[in-house]
């Protein structure tokens, strides 16, 4: 049976060439990062290693990218209709600039929501950083030994085709439920968590 979770120490010992093998891509925009380097979080302890860093599947970005493109194209379309000429010249300029400003805010909000919405599985705990919008965020974590149950689900044609879904982690901690939404390879995430739980108990 193939090993899903192999600790970094074991990887080192198994590799005869002396190089450390890395699973997954170490791209800063990767949604599935096994043993990520140069990634950390504020409350991380010295001996705590990040096993897996997850984001939502990149396909979720399509919506805000599509809407942003439409928003940025709108002024050109409105100008052709001549609607703006009803306003005095100064107001036309400000209306245009404000439109681009709000469109830009929408685009960066979409990007930040994806970029900062991360789930981390470390050797000690599970950390869930939720970036709801430009002014709301939440950081929650649960120790590995307090995890009681891990389940995952994939749904819809897109989720099934691209293999992404939700991972539900039930804990005995203060926050009883952590949900990793629309993450790639939810089966592998559940396996990693299962292996970590076995290693802890």
């Amino acid at each position: 049976m193939p090993e899903i979770f192999v600790s970094p120490e074991n990887i080192n010992s198994k590799n005869t060439s002396g190089e450390i093998r890395h699973h997954g891509r170490r791209n800063m925009f990767s949604a599935f990062n096994l043993y990520p380097e140069h990634i950390s979080f504020e409350t991380r302890e010295k001996d705590e290693k990040i096993v897996l860093m997850l984001r939502q599947h990149p396909i979720v970005n399509l919506k805000w990218i599509f809407v942003s493109v439409i928003l940025f194209l709108c002024p050109a379309i409105i100008q052709k209709t001549g609607l703006l000429s009803l306003l005095p010249t100064g107001y036309q300029i400000i209306a245009m600039m404000t439109w681009y400003l709000v469109s830009f805010a929408y685009a960066i909000e979409g990007f930040f929501s994806w970029y900062f919405n991360v789930f981390m599985i470390t050797t000690m705990r599970v950390v869930d950083v939720d970036f709801y919008n430009l002014i709301d965020k939440r950081v929650s974590d649960a120790e590995i030994e307090k995890i009681q149950d891990v389940s995952y689900s994939t749904s819809g044609p897109l989720g099934t085709t691209l293999n992404y879904g939700d991972v539900l982690v039930q804990t005995a901690a203060e926050i009883t439920e952590l949900v990793f939404e629309r993450v790639p390879h939810p089966d592998r995430v559940a396996d990693v968590l299962g292996d970590l739980r076995k290693a802890v108990h």
Partner: protein
């Protein structure tokens, strides 16, 4: 017959004031975003912090630019 003195007001002057108030509020919002991004980049080190901070600052500068332009052209 003498014309009645009906008080008139310039609708564009009111729109101008409202526009400026909204733009000032937007600048405050843009400033809050830069603070939020600063907190997030402090909480998480993901390797793209300079660009993320630049985007939030660019948004704030753009908001200030729109306000200044509105002061000049309206």
């Amino acid at each position: 017959m003498e014309n009645l003195a009906i008080p008139t007001f310039d609708i564009w002057a009111i729109i101008r004031i409202f526009t400026l108030i909204i733009l000032v509020m937007y600048i405050i919002f843009a400033f809050v975003i830069t603070r939020q991004v600063k907190v997030m980049t402090h909480t998480l080190t993901l390797g793209f912090e300079p660009v993320v901070r630049f985007l939030s600052f660019f948004h704030l500068i753009f908001a200030i630019l729109v306000f200044v332009t509105a002061l000049i052209v309206l």
